[in-house]
Amino acid sequence: MARPPASAEQLLERFGPHLHNTPPGGWSDESRNPAEKLVKTHCCFCGQQCGIQLKVRENRVIGFEPWEEFPFNEGKLCPKGVKRYLQGSHPDRLLDPLLRDEKVAPDSAGFRKANWAEALQFTARRIREIQEKYGKDAVAVYGGASLTTEKSYLVGKFARLAVGTRHVDYNGRLCMVSAGVAYKLAFGVDRSPIPWSDIPKADVLFIIGSNIGDCSPITTDYVWRCRDRGGKLIIADPRLNPIARNADLFLPVRPGTDLALLMGMLHVILRDGLENRQFIEEHTTGFEALKESVQAWNPQAAAEKTGVPPDAIEKAAHWIAKAEHAIALHARGIEHQSKGVENCLAVINLVLATGHLGHEGSGCAMITGQGNGQGGREHGQKCDQLPGQRMLTDPAAREHVARVWGISPDELPQPGYTAEEIMEAIHRGEIKALLSMCFNPLVSLPDANYTREALDKLEFFGVIDFFLSETAHHADVVLAGSLQEEEEGLSCNTEGRVIHIQKAVDPPPNARTDTWILCELAKRLDRAKFFPFQTSREVLDELREASRGGHADYYGITYERVDEHMGLFWPCPSLDHPGTPHLLDGAKSFHPDGKCRFVTTEWRESGDPVDEQYPVYLTTGRVVSQYLSGTQTRRLGGLVDIYPEPLLEIHPRLAQQYGIADGDAVTLTTRRSEVTVRALVTKTIRPDTVFIPYHWPGKRSANRLTHRTLDPRSKIPEFKVSACCIKKASLSEESI
């Protein structure tokens, strides 16, 4: 049974998050000793995947040194990168496999140390027992986008071949999938088409739904370089974020209405005849339908919907259309919506209509949120895909991958549920068991109370991780896995640059590499012959073959080549191929006809509309010092100091209406639940909108408030738009 085996306090006491501030050996003592080696590797956090050198001494990471030669970030790091080295020596680190045992002493918090044979055997036995009782697909597997590409590949193969379930998906479902679907529809391929070195070359930079300063800090440098060259900066966001204050044009779009803004801009461009006829004719299909679809979205109509002034919409459209080079950047702001795919398609339509594609300094790009958000979704842990970004439903793709794996294509399951759908299937009793690696759904999925109810219902829950996340409190078994710096592998950054994660240290003596754990589990599921891997290199060699000929072709990528070139952009189909920084050179798409497609978009309302009872828009997001569900970053003292607790950003006009002053406790209520946090009264947010960051669990969890409406195509939840009501909390209600 998957209820937590001990009280929240007991679990907190034993497993943290505790704050860790000092390097191994202390500031003034041992850590002053010189490093034995500097390991050139990358940050384990966001999709920027900054280069960093880890200082290693006696098999411990004792500090870092900036890696200025790495071209993407040239030594720059955000505070998460600066403090990431402290996670290896963290006292909360899981050092042994754990089995749930409610009879152990209270200070063990319901888990006892197990030996590996026992823990692995138990996991395999429970998986098979449940499958025998309820069918193969009663077991689901979760992966994560912080895993290396090799591990992501293994998760997909393990789920389909070792467990034999249809249901494998990953936390990247909460990140990039709307953009992925849109880029596939329009360009036939899912990757940002341009390297970041193009950004400074744009004459107009249009950033929509991306809080770059907090969520992709290194990209700021590229944005400022663009401005120094005279580039104009347009930013659309409900909040005047740290970058937006330097914008030449700020579009304060109401949450969930980006599509209306984009269609309004397209309307202006077509109305004024500013489209690039030659480009449209040579490189695109579907333009006539697009024209019709934006007919009704005159600036007035768009302004009514978005709260952006009509003349600002006109100006933005004109600047982009008249620029010689323009780039549109977007991220979760437009993607985390029940029309996330449409939003991204509308950005692409804008770029295509104005001909800003296929030459240097022009294009569009999604800014990856998760570390290996790009690479983690290319090789088969996504519920509908096989390695190489091949589609699981494509017979030729199944044939190819089955041949590499040495099976018949019929043995490959068909596509299963996406991440949130898996949780819903658990809730309704269809899925009975879950094996999760690198995913903390209790904090990161929407409607957290619902997620908790689902976890409580699991008949078996196994977790592979290196810290005990809040979700793992529900586990029956926890297999102590490896940190990023403990296992070699590839990752793919936001640009599509494949980079090399170096192994810096060994895992602690009784923890294991994730690769070893998956292979050992496969052995106990009687599928050893498909998982003979001793090293990441062996996994990569198979992955190279499996991806060969696919869109995300890694055949020409080896660790040595990545090191030599400081990263290689895929596709890289042969060992002498230089890689492909510009994916859509000459605006040639990956569709069979080589054309880019206009895909029309249609307005629809949010899945959680504001009304009289819930009159305020709630939007959620990140802060710079925390990463995703905070499993790692809520344990690092320096990062917690920067921003210790979630704050409610609220405009003075709205605050005054409810008698709320800065620092007051405020209760937010949505159609799901309520949360009480302190107010940060500030003029940098729309007065009809409030914001809270989502990195915290329990009573401070923003995702208790969010709803489970999904984009029908990408299945991304609508984190960026909920309806809420607010009231000042009395002291007794304060549970902050």
Binding site: K76, C78, P79, T220, R245, P652, V681
Partner: protein
């Protein structure tokens, strides 16, 4: 490092505090961050400012020190107070026009940014300016800074006190000096010599 200068540009600061976190990694003051970081007025704006010691040519902190504990190195870097001499009297803290020095109670010593002389002396850039993701703190050659929209200045006017610093502030083009007092911009006939 020869030919490199330090530039501060609060208009580019994104408030990430990477500098604050990285500063404590510095060899000369491990575990203690010397960066000054402020939200200007969070009610009004998201603007933030991170800055280091400005390393004055004639440092006020050194001038007011009764123990002669604050020294300027040959590299022009104003050091933390010398431990054997510092009496932790806080004169420097009160006198510095930029609010830089800090008394660290547990050490009974004034400590401040030393521009990572342990790093710059061996050809590395200061930690904060190396990691800063947003060009708010930069340690680069003047020709690189010339590509920016803003221009550097290193003259600060505090009433009658004109302070020339080693570290530069990025300002709107055409700014000769940074003055913080309206009086500095006024004409007061023969009474005052405050104008520029």
């Amino acid at each position: 490092m020869f030919g490199y200068e330090f530039y501060v540009d609060p208009s580019r600061c994104i408030g990430c505090q990477s500098c604050v976190e990285a500063c404590e990694e510095c060899e000369t003051h491990r575990g203690v961050s010397m960066i000054n970081f402020d939200y200007l007025d969070r009610y009004e704006t998201a603007n933030t400012a991170a800055y280091v010691c400005w390393h004055c040519e004639e440092p006020t902190c050194a001038m007011v020190c009764p123990a002669d504990a604050i020294k300027v190195g040959e590299d022009g870097v104003v050091r933390s107070a010398l431990k054997p001499r510092c009496i932790a009297c806080s004169n420097c803290v009160l006198a510095c026009p930029f609010g830089i020095p800090k008394i660290i109670p547990e050490y009974e010593q004034m400590m401040k940014c030393d521009m990572c002389y342990d790093r710059t002396s061996v050809g590395k850039r200061p930690m904060c300016a190396t990691v800063c993701p947003s060009q708010a703190l930069s340690y680069v050659k003047p020709e690189q800074i010339a590509k920016r929209r803003e221009e550097p200045t290193n003259l600060f006017v505090f009433g009658n006190q004109h302070v020339k610093t080693r570290v530069h502030m990025m300002t709107p083009p055409g700014t000769d000096a940074v003055s913080i007092d309206v009086v500095d911009y006024m004409w007061e006939g023969h009474l005052g010599q405050f104008g520029r």
